[in-house]
C-alpha cells in the first residue's frame, strides 16, 4: 500500500496534467467521433488516472523514463488539421520498384487526399478509422477489445484521446497482392503531441503485407502515442513491417496488439533506424490452435538515443509456435532495453516458443538491458530464450583482416552480418534491399534517412 502511495504521489503532477487536459478538451474529443469510439473514453481516462504516466517503478517501464517526456510543453492535436503542404508534392517514397497501395497519415490523421491507394481487391477497405466508425460501425465492433486500457497507461491515454488513424479490412479468402504502405508524418509548427489509433482486420484466409513508415518532416519536438489493434482471423496471414525513421527530438510510443485465431500466421518486423526515444509494446495473444507468430526487431542507435522493445506472447491454445529475434547495435551513449515475456497458459500443450536477443555495444558508454520473462503453466512445451550483450567477435574480425580487409571495413561487414539475420526475413524484395542499404549507411555512421533530408540537421 505504501509503495503504491509513493507511485501515486510521484506521478501526480504530470498525470494530473493529462487528466485535466482531458477535461478541458472533452467536448472536442467527443465531437464528430462515432459512438463506438466515444463509448470507451471515460473508462480509459479512469484507467489512465489509476495507473498514471509510468515511472521506473512500474515494472513494465523499468528501463524507460517517460515522465520527463510527458512533462514537456506540447500543443495537443485533437482535431483534423489540414496539411499545409501537398504531401504528395513534398514526399515521394523513393524505394525503387516498391509498388504499393500507398496512404499517408498526417499527425495521426488519415490524410484527406490519399490519391495513391490505387485499386484494392473487392471488399478490401483502407480508410480513415474515423470514417469507418461513422459509416460502417459493424466493422469496428472489436475496437478497444484487443488493447485493454486497464493494463497499460499509454493505451488508456491513447483510447481516451483517440480520434483517427488508419483502418484496414481484408475480407474472407482475399489476398492483397501489393503491400499496403502507410506513411505516418509528423509535421507541426510547434512541439506537438499526437495520438494515432489504427485497426487491421483480417477475416478468415485473408492475406496482406503492411509496411508502416514513420517520418518527421521538421525538427520540432514530437510525442506520438499510437495504438494499433490487429485481428487475424482463422488461417489469415499478415506480414507487418514497421520502419522507424524519426529525428532525435521525437518520442515514439507504439503499442501493437495482435489477436490470432487458429492456423493464422503473423510476422512482425520492426526496424528502428532513427529516433530520440522509442518504446515499442508488442503483444500477441495466440487464441487458436496451430497459430504461428514471428517477431523480429532491429535497432541501430547512437548518441543519446533510447530504444525499448517490450514483447509479450501469450500462448493461449495448444500447438502454437512463436519465434522472436531482436537485435540491437548501440553506439556512443545510446541505451537499449528488451523485455520478452512468454506466457504459456495451462493446457497450451505442444507449444514451441523461442526468443533471442543479441546486442552489440560499440562503446563502453552504451548500455543494454535484456530481460526474458517466461511463465510456463503447461508441461509439454518447448521453450528457449537467450540474450547476449557483447562486442564484435574478435576471432571473426581477425579472420577478415588476415585476408587484407581493413579493420573499419571488416567491422562494418560484421555488423551488417549481425543485422542480416533479421533483414533476410523481409519478404518484399525492394524493401529488403532498401533496408539493407539503410542499415549499411547507418552502420557507416552516415545519416540513413529514407527520404531526401529537407533539413540539414545534426540529428
Amino acid at each position: 500500500m505504501e509503495s503504491n502511495m509513493s507511485i501515486l504521489i510521484e506521478n501526480t503532477d504530470v498525470s494530473l496534467k493529462y487528466a485535466a487536459h482531458y477535461n478541458s478538451v472533452k467536448e472536442v474529443l467527443f465531437r464528430n467521433s462515432a459512438e463506438e469510439m466515444n463509448a470507451h473514453r471515460k473508462k480509459a481516462l479512469q484507467d489512465f488516472i489509476t495507473q498514471g504516466i509510468p515511472t521506473r517503478k512500474n515494472e513494465n517501464y523499468k528501463y524507460t523514463n517517460l515522465q520527463p517526456r510527458f512533462s514537456s510543453e506540447f500543443r495537443y492535436i485533437h482535431e483534423r488539421e489540414p496539411a499545409e503542404v501537398d504531401l504528395h508534392a513534398v514526399f515521394r517514397c523513393d524505394v525503387p520498384l516498391l509498388d504499393t497501395h500507398l496512404a499517408f497519415l498526417f499527425n495521426g490523421w488519415f490524410y484527406e487526399d490519399n490519391s495513391k491507394i490505387g485499386e484494392l481487391p473487392s471488399g478490401v477497405i483502407l480508410d480513415s478509422l474515423e470514417n469507418v466508425a461513422h459509416n460502417n460501425p459493424g466493422l469496428i465492433r472489436k475496437y478497444a477489445s484487443l488493447a485493454q486500457t486497464e493494463d497499460d497507461p499509454l493505451v488508456a491515454l491513447n483510447t481516451a484521446f483517440a480520434k483517427d488513424g488508419y483502418f484496414l479490412y481484408v475480407p474472407e479468402n482475399t489476398t492483397v497482392e501489393l503491400p499496403v504502405q502507410l506513411i505516418n508524418f509528423l509535421q507541426a509548427k510547434e512541439s506537438a503531441y499526437v495520438t494515432q489509433r489504427n485497426f487491421i482486420y483480417l477475416e478468415e484466409g485473408a492475406h496482406v503485407k503492411v509496411i508502416s513508415c514513420d517520418h518527421t518532416l521538421n525538427l520540432n519536438h514530437y510525442l506520438n502515442n499510437s495504438v494499433t489493434e490487429i485481428f487475424a482471423g482463422p488461417n489469415a496471414n499478415l506480414e507487418y513491417y514497421t520502419l522507424q525513421n524519426q529525428h532525435n527530438y521525437t518520442t515514439s510510443l507504439n503499442s501493437v496488439f495482435i489477436h490470432q485465431e487458429k492456423d493464422s500466421k503473423v510476422t512482425t518486423l520492426n526496424s528502428s533506424l532513427h529516433g530520440g526515444l522509442i518504446r515499442n509494446n508488442l503483444k500477441f495473444n495466440m487464441d487458436g490452435e496451430n497459430a504461428e507468430a514471428f517477431l523480429y526487431g532491429m535497432a541501430f542507435i547512437d548518441r543519446k538515443q533510447h530504444v525499448d522493445n517490450f514483447t509479450q506472447v501469450i500462448h493461449g491454445k495448444p500447438h502454437c509456435m512463436s519465434n522472436q529475434v531482436y537485435k540491437n547495435v548501440l553506439d556512443d551513449e545510446s541505451t537499449g532495453a528488451f523485455t520478452g515475456r512468454i506466457h504459456v497458459v495451462r493446457d497450451a500443450q505442444k507449444t514451441n516458443a523461442f526468443q533471442r536477443n543479441n546486442n552489440i555495444l560499440l562503446t563502453d558508454k552504451a548500455t543494454m538491458q535484456s530481460k526474458p520473462q517466461l511463465i510456463i503453466d503447461a508441461d509439454d512445451v518447448k521453450c528457449s530464450h537467450g540474450a547476449t550483450v557483447g562486442q564484435i567477435d574478435e576471432e571473426a574480425l581477425f579472420y577478415l583482416r588476415a585476408r587484407g580487409i581493413d579493420e573499419a571495413k571488416a567491422r562494418l561487414m560484421m555488423m551488417n552480418a549481425f543485422a542480416y539475420e533479421v533483414i533476410q526475413q523481409i519478404s518484399i524484395e525492394p524493401l529488403r534491399k532498401r533496408i539493407n542499404e539503410l542499415v549499411d549507411k547507418r552502420l557507416r555512421g552516415e545519416v540513413a534517412r529514407c527520404h531526401d533530408c529537407a533539413y540539414n540537421c545534426e540529428c
Binding site: Y399, L400, A402, R403, G404, I405, A417
Partner: protein
C-alpha cells in the same frame, strides 16, 4: 623474404615462443613439425598479426620491412597468407561478398583497378576448379556449416584467389580425405613459382609427399630444436618425438 630473429612471444602472461630463428627465401618450402602445444600455431598467428600475442623480444623482417609493425590487413595485402588451423564461421557474411572484398582490397593496395562483380565471378570460377570447390559452398556465409574438410579447402581456395607471396599453411592437411589432400596439394604446387614461398605446418609426413619441402624444422618447447632436409620428416614419422625430447633434456 622472411627473417625471424630470436623471437619471444607471450600469451596471457605465458611464454610460448622462446627464441625462434628462421630464414625463408623465395622459392623455398619449409615444413614445421612438432608435438601438440609446442607453439606452431602461435608462430603462424604472430606472423599473421593476431593481437592477443605479445612479442617480448626479437624481430621479424618481411620483404625488407618490419613485419611486426604492420596491421594484419597490411601484411595480407603485402602477400602474407595464413591458412588457419581452425577457420572461423562468420554467419551473415556471404562468401562471395567476403572473397570479392578481399581480392579488391589486395588490388587496391597495389594500385590496380577493382574487379566488377562480373569480372570477379569469372575469376572466382577458374580458381574454384583449381581446388575443386563446390559452387554451393560459395552461396553460403563464410565457413558456415562447412565440414572440417570443406573449411580447409576453402582456405586454399582463398589462397588461390589472393595469390600470396608467403603462404603459411597451418595443418591444412588435417581433416582432408585422401583425394582432397591431393587436390589441395596440387593447388598449392600450381601456385608455386620462384618468387613465392610456403611454410607448411603439419603432423604428417604424408602431405610432404605432395608438397616436397626444402627444409624441415622441429618446433619443441617454443624453440626450433632441429632443422634438416626432407628426410627428417621420415625420421619423425618413424620414431615419433621421444628422441627429440630426450635430446632436449626431458
Amino acid at each position: 623474404m622472411l627473417s625471424i630473429k630470436d623471437l619471444f612471444v607471450e600469451v596471457e602472461g605465458m611464454e610460448i615462443l622462446k627464441g625462434i630463428n628462421l630464414v625463408v627465401k623465395p622459392g623455398e618450402i619449409h615444413a614445421i613439425m612438432g608435438p601438440n602445444g609446442s607453439g606452431k600455431s602461435t608462430l603462424a598467428n604472430v606472423l599473421a598479426g593476431k593481437e592477443e600475442y605479445t612479442v617480448t623480444h626479437g624481430e621479424v623482417t618481411y620483404l625488407g620491412e618490419d613485419l611486426l609493425d604492420m596491421a594484419p590487413e597490411e601484411r595480407a595485402q603485402k602477400g602474407l597468407f595464413l591458412s588457419f588451423q581452425y577457420p572461423v564461421e562468420i554467419p551473415g557474411v556471404p562468401m562471395v561478398n567476403f572473397l570479392k572484398t578481399a581480392v579488391n582490397e589486395h588490388r587496391r593496395s597495389r594500385g590496380e583497378k577493382e574487379l566488377t562483380a562480373g569480372e570477379f565471378l569469372k575469376f572466382m570460377r577458374t580458381k574454384m576448379e583449381m581446388v575443386d570447390m563446390h559452387a554451393q559452398l560459395t552461396n553460403r556465409s563464410v565457413n558456415e556449416g562447412f565440414s572440417g574438410g570443406e573449411k580447409k579447402k576453402n582456405e586454399i581456395f582463398q589462397m588461390a584467389l589472393l595469390e600470396p607471396r608467403l603462404a603459411i599453411l597451418d595443418e591444412t592437411d588435417s581433416g582432408l580425405d585422401i583425394d582432397a589432400l591431393k587436390t589441395v596439394a596440387h593447388g598449392v604446387n600450381a601456385l608455386r613459382n620462384s618468387g613465392n614461398a610456403t611454410i607448411v605446418v603439419t603432423h604428417y609426413q604424408r602431405l610432404l609427399d605432395y608438397i616436397v619441402p626444402d627444409h624441415v624444422h622441429v618446433l619443441y618447447g617454443g624453440k626450433i630444436v632441429k632443422s634438416a632436409g626432407k628426410e627428417l620428416a621420415f625420421e619423425l614419422e618413424e620414431k615419433g618425438y621421444d628422441w627429440i625430447k630426450k635430446e632436449n633434456g626431458e
